[in-house]
């Protein structure tokens, strides 16, 4: 239990660092760290499949996509940012409203769903989960990180 609390504190600290960061690149790195800590927490509370998916999507893939996106953009100056924000607000103000209404409507519909939750696995270790049950995802993670590294070299290093 004590370890879980420490992990949760680390999780909150990493999340705070991510959202407070003024650099988009640091924010992307922070997201990867937050997701990796969350994955550890999910492993510890015996949800290995959720942990692996979290590790694959949020710790590996999404930060690489963020870094690629950041590399394709130019930073805006403040007057431009304000102008852009107002324009977006005027154009998309109804979107949260639609989401709330859709959420209310969906909660009123009674779906007759028979959910098939995954069979409980007898407390696999992280290694067992990754190597024995989801080796393709693990290999995919390695390749994603390599793709991200080469992308950074192509888009940032060579630009200099």
């Amino acid at each position: 239990m004590a370890i879980n609390i420490i992990i949760m504190v680390l999780f909150v600290l990493a999340a705070l660092w991510t959202v407070m960061s003024r650099s988009l690149l640091r924010g992307a790195a922070g997201l990867a760290i937050v997701s990796a800590i969350l994955a550890v927490l999910l492993f510890r509370i015996n949800s290995p499949i959720a942990a692996v998916f979290e590790l694959s999507v949020c710790a590996g893939l999404i930060p690489v996509i963020f870094v690629t996106t950041v590399s394709l953009t130019e930073p805006m100056v403040w007057p431009e940012i304000y102008k852009h924000m107002w324009m977006r607000l005027r154009r998309y103000w109804m979107l949260p409203l639609i989401l709330i209404i859709a959420g209310i409507v969906l909660t009123q519909i009674k779906f007759n769903i028979l959910l098939a939750l995954p069979a409980k696995i007898s407390e696999p270790t992280v290694g067992q989960m990754l190597w024995n049950l989801r080796p393709a995802d693990l290999l995919g993670q390695v390749i994603i990180l390599l793709a991200g590294s080469i992308g950074i070299v192509v888009l940032f290093k060579e630009k200099k």
Binding site: I65, L72, L146, V153, E158
Partner: protein, 458 residues
């Protein structure tokens, strides 16, 4: 043996990046060629890849072929040693990503490999860091991210029902309650995600910009195999786990026929060589989806055969476009003309590929389109069959327009100094043209060796 198709490129990639750049660039190129040829040999030797069905084998062969030819063609375009290592490293990553995608039997692992291919594609599009390519890659990135959200939501909903992400469990779960609204929603989200990745209408906004803005040696890869592997292969593989009937079939057929007409009509009005080919790709992808939408074994086989043919003839056309762009520094077709006199081989290869695209016999595009029309007719979709034939006439008109504007007529004064492209660009075209003509002439042989085994998949 299957694992080697991912591990060998990975080892090649690591060694190429550890060696000094001057040696690494040669090593990376040789690694692609050797691994690609090894992959083609494995695919063509019966029994060497156990447990792999004809659909995966077809894709493995096309992936290896297009990646190797792209690497060869890239020699024609000047790059520093470091850029050559990075370019070929990205090709190795794409090779791994696509090989993994077509070999896994798990919907989540498939998603991971789809994203590997997408990330490597973004970087390849902006490789030369030109303004247009940044715009094209950015659009691709935005559309791709939307597709990712849809795919993940679809996978999550499917997972709720199946309790596992393996194809076998999903097939059982989906078919136990096929009319459940959540399952229909999951399939719809998954399909829309794939339609975006495949650049089908109305989700095609990124495709023309990405294809035309990509470096000349990257466009054949994107148009030839990447879009099909990330957009069409998962559609064949996952949607066919669920019966292709009812509203799912209607959506597929409508997206297919709209893509055919929109792509063909948009291609008619293009001035840019590569943009015309990009819109033509949307149209031809529509034919593939239309064949799949029949929901019959003949329709599936015809769709896969057209996918094979489209990879061959569209890659040929993009390699020819790369040759023209390299030699003339032009993409505006109105500024060209008479290039067949200066670039005779490129002109002939382009004419053959254009005629195959338009479905002129005995070229393979004719046979696959004929099979799609027959499959539609036999499945009772006679209106779709007639529309598919009508669209073929539009295809012929824009392809003839392309040939006339680029290769026929008098040579302009500014093009008098133009010479035929180098061997790096002619070798890929020659190989593809030989395959194209061979498949067209030996079509009766293809029926027994390729089409019948594919129909047994469903």
């Amino acid at each position: 043996m299957k694992a080697l198709l991912i591990l060998l490129p990975l080892i090649g990639l690591l060694i190429a990046n550890l060696l000094p750049k001057r040696i690494g660039r040669v090593f990376a190129f040789l690694a692609i060629v050797i691994i690609g040829l090894f992959q083609i040999t494995l695919v063509t030797c019966p029994g060497s890849l156990s447990g792999v069905d004809p659909l995966t084998l077809t894709f493995l062969m096309l992936i290896a072929l297009v990646v190797v030819l792209t690497s060869i063609s890239s020699i024609a375009f000047p790059k520093t040693d470091s850029q050559k290592v990075n370019f070929n490293s990205l090709l190795l990553i794409i090779l791994m990503g696509m090989n993994g995608l077509v070999m896994v039997r798990d919907i989540f692992s498939m998603y991971v490999f789809i994203e590997i291919v997408a990330i490597a594609s973004f970087v390849l599009i902006v490789f030369n860091r030109e303004r247009d390519s940044f715009e094209g890659a950015y659009k691709y990135l935005v559309f791709s991210s939307v597709a990712t959200v849809m795919l993940l939501t679809g996978i999550a909903l499917i997972f709720l029902f199946s309790g596992s992400t393996s194809f076998e469990s999903i097939k059982m779960a989906l078919n136990s309650s096929p009319k459940n609204p959540i399952i229909l929603l999951a399939m719809a989200l998954y399909m829309v995600g794939l339609f975006i990745k495949g650049g089908l209408v109305p989700f095609h906004g990124w495709l023309a910009d990405a294809y035309s803005a990509a470096p000349a040696d990257v466009s054949p890869l994107l148009a030839g195999i990447v879009t099909k592997t990330v957009g069409i292969y998962p559609l064949f593989r996952v949607v066919s786990l669920y019966s292709v009937t009812g509203p799912i079939r209607t959506i597929i057929l409508l997206v297919g026929i709209i893509s055919i007409f929109f792509g063909a009509l948009a291609a008619l009005y293009q001035k840019d060589f590569k943009r015309m080919l990009a819109y033509s790709s949307i149209s031809q992808m529509g034919y593939i989806v239309l064949g799949f939408g029949c929901g019959t074994p003949l329709g599936y086989a015809a769709a896969i055969f057209h996918l094979f043919n489209h990879t061959i003839f569209k890659s040929t056309l993009f390699f020819n476009a790369a040759a023209v762009e390299k030699q003339t520094q032009l993409r505006d077709m109105d500024s060209m003309g008479g290039l067949a006199q200066k670039m005779p081989f490129t002109g002939v290869a382009s004419a053959l590929a254009a005629l195959s695209t338009a479905g002129i016999p005995p070229l393979p595009g004719f046979w696959s389109k004929l099979l799609i029309v027959i499959a539609l007719w036999l499945a009772g979709f006679k209106v779709y069959a007639i529309l598919a034939v009508v669209a073929s006439v539009i295809t012929l008109s824009y392809m003839l327009s392309l040939q006339r504007r680029v290769f026929f007529g008098n040579v302009g004064e500014h093009l008098l100094h133009i010479k035929e492209a180098g061997a790096e660009l002619l070798i890929p075209s020659t190989i593809l043209v030989l395959i194209m003509v061979g498949v067209g002439i030996f079509f009766p042989f293809i029926i027994g060796t390729f089409l019948l085994p594919v129909t047994r998949l469903w």
